[in-house]
């Protein structure tokens, strides 16, 4: 007969405020096999755990039930307590009477108490059939995959490589650099963005530990922490490794019909191109959709002019299989597409531009060589209106969140404009200024006081064209007046949203994401760069909008996590996996087909002497314990350790029985 101990936690008033814990503990005593039942204020505290250990010794218990919070919270804690008490940690069950009872049933204390008893009784029923399991270990492939070559991915790759581990950096575009490479200057110090980014890009290219894969995408992922099998599609660049980056092909290419993505479609680009002059790697790619040769079969000018014979039209997309121990996802952001805003011209007024376009106009290597001119007629501007919160803080457009950086970059852009053209005047329409950060508020104040930017508190209602000018109809809610500004150009501070393929990538890794497509971190405060999938870490704007300092900090944090994982020789894994009983297995291969992790293999095994059968076998290091095989097995030959049929049936029995009469009497009194 099992000797079970039940420990009921008050969790301060979290549980005890709703559930009558003393009654739950008393009820536990009436259950068969329970030798001790104790309630305590904080079971997870040091004295609480000591109470458990003392009770185990005093009553000679061999298994326990902790009625407290979710196993996600403290299962690990109490397993360690079991070890300290000299028991097998898998002979412990958590009964969740906080999240499942007290927090959700605070309106009816009597029923909540009864439910708490039931939940506890089920755990007792289950633990009665628990078996001692031993820990398992898995090896770790000490190579990291970094997805996304923006500043977050670059920083993470550099930091992991600095620790001596191999890194593969995968970037979708032909060059790394990401959004930061598009920016002109950075707030609040007005550092030149490219000047601080390009040394890092070069460091990535030169680091022997980092393998750079540009123009590539992750297409398939299987496996788990320590052993991710990843398929990467290397898109055909049509330029091979002989390229020396001289750029003759780009100059001579006659096709300039397509628009430059890097310059936010403000300028044309060739069909063979590098996104920008400082690109890393400085190897051009051929955009096959627009290349004259790939469309008509004639041209081949780039092949003729190439001095090293690097052009290779016959290149094909290639799938590369790699094994990684950990993955850092840093896919970054897109800016909100304002074509939804009818009142701002549906994105069809040429001189209403996005903030990133304005950033390119300001940049001296941009499409206009740093001249801020109207895209419609290339005239220089005098009055510029900046509108904040476009696609941010707007429930009607399904973007209720604040994009965090727009207040700051708008102030920066207004200041830079004044620096470039002292005779211009900027107007900023804002709702609230959010400038939390070191030297951020001072920066915005400087824009208002030293640069004479006129800040008007109110959202703009309408932009329309009158002659050459744009009329901006807004309000200043502080004075209560309607305001009309005649502008030459309007810059919208578009909010940030996840990259368009962020969701598909998340699905490859089974990561969770919110309704906008931002990845969910494991815990918003205490595990900000981990995800629910162990071994997959996230950094930067793919989690939520953030500025460069925060992004870099997160990237380094992911690197620290990856290095901590790689520093171990072997990794502890839960033994809660499936096991096949070869004696009852019929070899039907159903489990083999349903297993989502390919953790089942079929083998011919001598189950008894002289009896060789075709049976299933679980590959222990691959099984994740999902239980799909258990449900599919016709002959009940597969069982899940820690969740065996006997345990679960016991639980169901306990759940469906009435509460014992003894307690019913109590509750009526």
């Amino acid at each position: 007969m099992a000797r079970i101990g039940v420990f009921v936690c008050h969790c301060g008033t979290n549980i005890a405020g709703v559930v009558d814990v003393a009654r739950v503990a008393k009820y536990a005593e009436s259950l068969p096999g329970v030798r001790a039942s104790i309630d305590y204020k904080y079971m997870c505290s040091d004295p609480g755990q000591n109470t458990v250990i003392e009770a185990i010794k005093k009553y000679n218990l061999d298994r326990i039930v902790v009625s407290a919070c979710s196993p996600r919270m403290h299962e690990g804690t109490f397993r360690k307590t079991m070890e300290r008490a000299g028991l097998n940690p898998y002979l412990m069950e958590m009964a969740n009477i906080r999240e499942h009872v007290s927090w959700v049933h605070s309106d009816d204390k009597e029923l909540a108490t009864q439910k708490a008893m039931k939940v506890m009784e089920m755990a007792v029923a289950k633990v009665r059939r628990s078996e001692a399991l031993s820990k398992m270990y898995a090896s770790i492939e000490k190579r990291a995959l970094v997805i996304g070559g923006g500043i977050a991915g670059i920083q993470a790759a550099i930091d992991i490589a600095a620790a001596g581990y191999k890194v593969v950096l995968v970037e979708k575009e032909p060059s790394i650099g990401g959004r930061m490479a598009q920016l002109d200057k950075t707030f609040p110090t007005l550092d030149c963005s490219a000047c601080i980014l390009t040394p890092k890009m070069v460091a990535v290219a030169q680091d022997p530990n980092i393998t750079l894969m540009t123009y590539a995408e992750v297409v398939e992922v299987c496996g788990y922490v320590g052993q991710f099998d990843v398929k990467i599609k290397q898109k055909a660049k049509s330029v091979n490794s002989k390229c020396i980056g001289c750029g003759v092909c780009i100059t001579k290419c006659p096709n300039k019909k397509s628009l430059s993505e890097f310059n936010e479609k403000l300028a044309p680009r060739k069909a063979i191109y590098t996104p920008f002059p400082q690109a890393v790697p400085n190897v051009p790619v051929i955009d096959r959709e627009n290349c004259t040769f790939f469309k008509t079969g004639k041209c081949k000018i780039c092949e003729k002019v190439c001095p090293t014979g690097a052009i290779e039209y016959s290149q094909q997309d290639e799938i590369i299989k790699e094994k990684f121990g950990a993955v850092v996802v840093a896919t970054g952001f897109n800016i909100y597409d304002h074509s939804n805003y009818g009142e701002y011209g549906y994105g069809e007024i040429k001189d209403v531009i996005t903030s990133l376009q304005f950033e390119r106009l300001l940049n001296s290597s941009g499409p206009t060589d740093g001249h801020v001119v109207r895209p419609s007629d290339h005239k220089e501007v005098k009055n510029v209106v900046f509108i904040q919160c476009v696609g941010s803080r707007d429930e009607a457009k399904h973007r209720p969140y604040c994009s965090r950086v727009c207040c700051m970059y708008t102030a920066k852009q207004a200041m830079l404009l004044k620096d470039h053209y002292p005779e211009t005047q900027s107007y900023v329409f804002y709702i609230d200024i959010r400038s939390a950060g070191k030297n951020y508020e001072e920066f915005v104040q400087r824009a208002q006081n030293d640069y004479g930017v006129v800040y008007l508190r109110g959202r703009v209602s309408k932009i329309f064209e009158r002659g050459e000018k744009l009329i901006v109809k807004g309000a200043d809610t502080l004075s209560g007046a309607q305001v009309e500004v005649e502008a030459d150009m309007v810059v919208l501070a578009n909010g940030l949203e996840p990259r368009s393929h962020a969701k598909e990538l998340a699905q490859l890794f089974h990561m969770s994401y919110d309704q906008y497509g931002f990845y969910n971190e494991l815990h918003p405060k205490l595990a900000p760069v981990e995800t629910a999938i162990s071994g997959v870490y996230v950094a930067g704007c793919c989690i939520s909008p953030k500025d460069i300092p925060d992004t870099v900090a997160q990237a380094s944090a992911t690197a620290a996590k990856v290095c901590a994982l790689f520093a171990k020789e072997k990794m502890e894994v839960e033994p809660l996996i499936a096991a096949v009983n070869p004696l009852t297995c019929s070899g039907c291969e159903t489990c083999y087909n349903v297993c989502p992790y390919s953790a089942i293999e079929m083998e011919d095994k001598e189950v008894k002497r002289g009896d060789v059968r075709h049976v299933a076998k679980v590959i222990e290091s691959v099984c994740k314990g999902c239980g799909a095989c258990v449900g599919s097995c016709y002959c009940k030959a597969v069982d899940l350790k820690g969740f065996s049929d006997r345990q679960v049936m016991n639980q169901i029995e306990a759940a469906t029985q009435e509460l014992s009469t003894k307690d019913k009497l109590q509750s009526t009194i």
Partner: protein, 198 residues
């Protein structure tokens, strides 16, 4: 000007009344001012729409109900269309008008209800707008008998733009019958709207 905030008008009272009658969540308003920016008549209002929303949030019924804001609203619904917090501001303005009629909250400016009453009476009796009768009655009741009479009124009479004899519709009796019927059917509804809810 100092205003003494009253918690009962913030927590329940005025704000709750407006929210219940208009079925809009006024507390959603975060004062971006987009409604005031696009409003075609805000220049003439004592308080622009965004400020009216704030006054509802703070329960300043005495100021708001006495202001011309809701009466000047032309229900073009520009504010409603563009509100990022999805408040139907035009409907809130309508609700304020209904509440002014119902009389629970004090309204100092009471000429607009007079105008509304005379307008409906004119429709009831003649089926159309009987201009001179309406102007006369309105001037008398609003205690301003010579408003707009000289020289505009005289000029218009001389030019034959308005006449002393009302233009009737083909069957004025039918109109009276319809209005009587409407009153009978709607009596319960009106009671519900004006008395029980407000």
């Amino acid at each position: 000007m100092k205003y003494e905030l009253q918690l009962k008008n913030i927590k329940e009272g005025f704000r709750k009344d407006v929210e219940r009658l208009s079925k809009q969540k006024i507390s959603n308003c975060y004062q971006c001012g987009k409604c005031s920016a696009g409003c075609p008549v805000a220049y003439a209002m004592e308080y622009p729409p965004s400020m009216a929303m704030r006054m509802i949030q703070l329960g300043m019924h005495d100021r708001l109900m006495s202001a011309n804001t809701s009466w000047f609203c032309v229900s073009c619904e520009t504010c409603t269309t563009r509100c990022p917090r999805e408040i139907d501001i035009a409907k809130v303005m309508d609700t304020l008008k209904i509440m002014a009629q119902a009389g629970k909250y004090k309204v100092s400016d009471n000429e607009v209800p007079i105008f509304d009453w005379i307008f409906l009476k004119s429709i009831e009796l003649t089926g159309k707008i009987y201009e001179i009768g309406m102007i006369g009655a309105y001037n008398m009741l609003s205690l301003n008998p010579f408003k707009d009479v000289f020289p505009m009124g005289v000029k218009m009479i001389l030019k034959g733009k308005i006449s002393f004899i009302p233009h009737l519709i083909y069957n004025p009796l039918e109109m009276i019958k319809n209005i009587m019927m409407f009153r009978k059917i709607r009596k319960k509804d009106r009671e519900r709207i004006y008395e029980k809810n407000v």
